[in-house]
Amino acid sequence: MNARPGELFYQDLLETCLTAGELMIEGGSEMYRVEDTMVRIAKSAGEPDPRVFVVPTGVFMSLDHGNYCQSTLVHERNINLELVDRINSLSRAFADKKISLQEVKNEVTKMAKGGYPTFPIWLQTIGAAILSATLMVLFMNNYDWIDFPAAAVVGAIGFLSFYYFKRFTNVRFLAELVAALIMTVIAASLVRLFPQMIIDHILTGALMPLVPGLALTNALRDLFKGDILSGMVKICEALLTAFALGGGVGIVLKFLGA
């Protein structure tokens, strides 16, 4: 018979699972995948009956028939797929007994402090510029090449301003509003300079890196899967983003009369 594991083991396991779940939600994973990963880590550590409850704003977990129970709050939800991929592969390696619990814990705490590779900010900005310009051409059926560079410039500036304003405020809504304001001002002045450009086309492309269509699709997928609560939360978040972007664009267009 193996001995009953001590308190220290359970604390370690809870810490690891909760941090992993929190990071996955911050990375924009679906809820069922988060639950799956946490349960997999706990089960392969030898806990027979782990229970988890995951919503987009927090993670709850209990081990050892409820003797050990903890929760973590999640304040920030972005899309960062590197995190999702790394934690997923960590949990699989742990389930295959390739690494120990201590190694998993070290790795997860390292990731929580930002120890994972990210693309440099200039590359991300170039990505946003390419995305804005190409999608503008794809969406508008008449292939207008005049707005192509304008959409790239405005999209890149909008993405950069969102990235930097997010550091000053912890209200995501405000950062989006400011980004939309800046984008619309620049687009309007570009149209003043070059009258043959169309401001609607430029803004449609430039808003694409920030637009919540993706969040809405993910929310609906969660809803259809049966995670009603997280689906509703995500829909509310997407609607807030839409209001922020729309408000920013609307204010400037009203003032400038464009």
């Binding site: 679906e30 999702v84 592969s89 170039i126 803004l203 839409a242």
Partner: protein, 158 residues
């Protein structure tokens, strides 16, 4: 513009758009190329369906069905979660134009136009989500049938 040139532009731009978005959301480096490829395939299916005048709902559904299947196939190839491929590939299908139109109509006080645009957004997002769900179901059924046949063939061979 000749038809082949249109196809070339669509393929190149769909790849660039998906890969560009993949850069901004920090996908793992080894899947960057495949994310772009699944973006191409889903956009081309959507675009051809739209040209064949199949309507917005059906073309979005077909495009996202392709995304779902490709996501699972690539996830098995590269051994990483399927979400990594879904999110960059959906981007060209996401209803950006009607969403912007809704905002624009609202700010200019045209409520009826805004209503139309919002409904269009809801229909398109719903059909994208439904398409991915259907493809997940089909893949699951396929693997279950494969497993069943494998077990049976082992039984008969021994």
């Amino acid at each position: 513009m000749p038809f082949w040139l249109e196809i070339v532009i669509n393929v190149a731009f769909a790849y660039l758009a998906s890969a560009g978005f993949a850069l901004t959301i920090n996908v793992p480096r080894r899947v960057l190329n495949l994310a772009g490829i699944s973006g191409i395939i889903s956009w081309i299916i959507y675009w051809l369906a739209m040209r064949a005048s199949m309507g917005r709902l059906l073309s979005n559904l077909l495009g996202s069905f392709a995304i779902g299947i490709l996501g699972i196939v690539f996830a098995r190839m590269k051994k990483c979660p399927a979400t990594v491929f879904y999110i960059p590939a959906i981007v060209p299908l996401v209803p950006g134009v009607p969403a912007y139109q809704a905002v624009r109509e609202l700010t200019s006080g045209n409520l009826r136009g805004a209503n139309d645009a919002v409904l269009r957004v809801i229909i398109v997002t719903g059909s994208i989500a439904l398409g991915m769900l259907l493809s997940n179901m089909c893949v699951e059924i396929f693997f279950r049938i494969k497993k069943f046949y494998k077990r049976h063939s082992e039984k008969y061979n021994n």
